[in-house]
Every structure is written in C-alpha cells, then in structure tokens.
Assembly symmetry: C2
Homo-oligomer: 124 residues x 2
Amino acid sequence: MTNKAEEFFNVDDPESGIHRELAPGLNAQVFVGDNSMLSLVRFVPGGKGEIHSHSEEQWGLLLEGSGTRIQNGVEHQVIAGDFWRTPGGITHGFIAGPQGAKVMDIFSPAREAYREQGEGFANK
Amino acid sequence: MTNKAEEFFNVDDPESGIHRELAPGLNAQVFVGDNSMLSLVRFVPGGKGEIHSHSEEQWGLLLEGSGTRIQNGVEHQVIAGDFWRTPGGITHGFIAGPQGAKVMDIFSPAREAYREQGEGFANK
C-alpha cells in the first residue's frame, strides 16, 4: 500500500475511495474529482456487470484478467492492457473471464450518484 | 495488439492515438473523448516531464516503472499501480526511475491543444 498523501492512491489498496456495491459480489472503489471520477471495479471469475447506460462519458482500462465488454450490443473480447471509450448514452456491460477482472473506469463528468456511498449502477 | 474495433485500444500498441512529442524523447499517444482525454506517456529511464500547469483536471496512473511525481512543489515517490489526482491549476511534473515509466494521464475536460497532432506540453 502506498497511499502516502492526499490525492495519491494505489490500485492494490482495497481500503481507499468510496466503496460501492454495484451488484451482489461486484464491488467498486470510487475516487471523486471535480470534472471526472475514477471507479476501480473488481470482478470475480465470470462476474457480470449488467447492461446499462448513463449520460456521462466513460473510459475503461482493464488492469488485470480478461473479459467480454458488451458495448452498443457488440461483444468485444478484452485482455489486460486494453482500454476503451464509451460515449454517453451507449449501453454497455461486462462479463469477466475465468481469472476475473480488475477494471479502472473513468467517468466524465463525475457521476453524481457515485459521489456518496451507495449501491447499484444508478442507471438512468 | 488488440485494437479490434473503433474506441478499443491497448496500452502496448505504439501506433494508436494522436502522437505528440511532449519534450525531446518524451512521447505521448492521445485518445480524444467528448468530455475527457487519455494520454499514454512513455518515459525513458530518468526521463523528465517539466513542471507545468493547466486548467484541466488531471489523473495519472502509473502502469509500469517508477518515478517521482512532483505536485504543488511536493515530491511523491510512486510505483506501478499508484494513481493520483491533480486539480486544475496545480503545478506538476514527473521524473522517471531507473526502469523508465509508462503513465496513463486523464484530462477532464479534454485539453484542446492536444486534440490535434503537435509538440510540447501546451502550458498555459
């Protein structure tokens, strides 16, 4: 753990950020900025993030594992190091591969519903 | 290389994005969104990103290597997996460690000067 100062974090620190259960067994740590927000999501093997959409632009970066990114109805097989952009309003979801997955999501603007502790994807 | 579809990229693909030389030997690949922008920066061992600032909020995620992040005049030693937020207007720079560094920077809003090919940090 190298959380040594305000505004400095590490992807392997399970304590930092605002904790949010997106779905049973699907947990996120949310880091709030002024114009953007990071959400570090850990998927168990085969874990699913339901198809949803929101107005905020989103980027995702697969830090560990593999999976299937479903975006606008199209399935994309992704591996660690892959990253992608999801324009606002586009439906998307994720299904983790056999080793699970760790994804860094980036929202811009910040998702208002994620600024406080809560549950679920806050679809709209 | 797994650049399999529009809006899908990989951090190990040196071809994708808009190429920008931030300083001699310091190269970035820029990926443009609507409200935000990613910039993948590769530092050679000991490579430096000069101290500068801009109005856009910035996050950085150290994907590989190590270095010193200088932020608001304070030096922070960082390792792979560390990430940090730099509010708009805060001075910042980076000095890579002995193995170099690969950093994913995130700007929100997108830095207008980086939407097109060019050189330099576009300080303002």
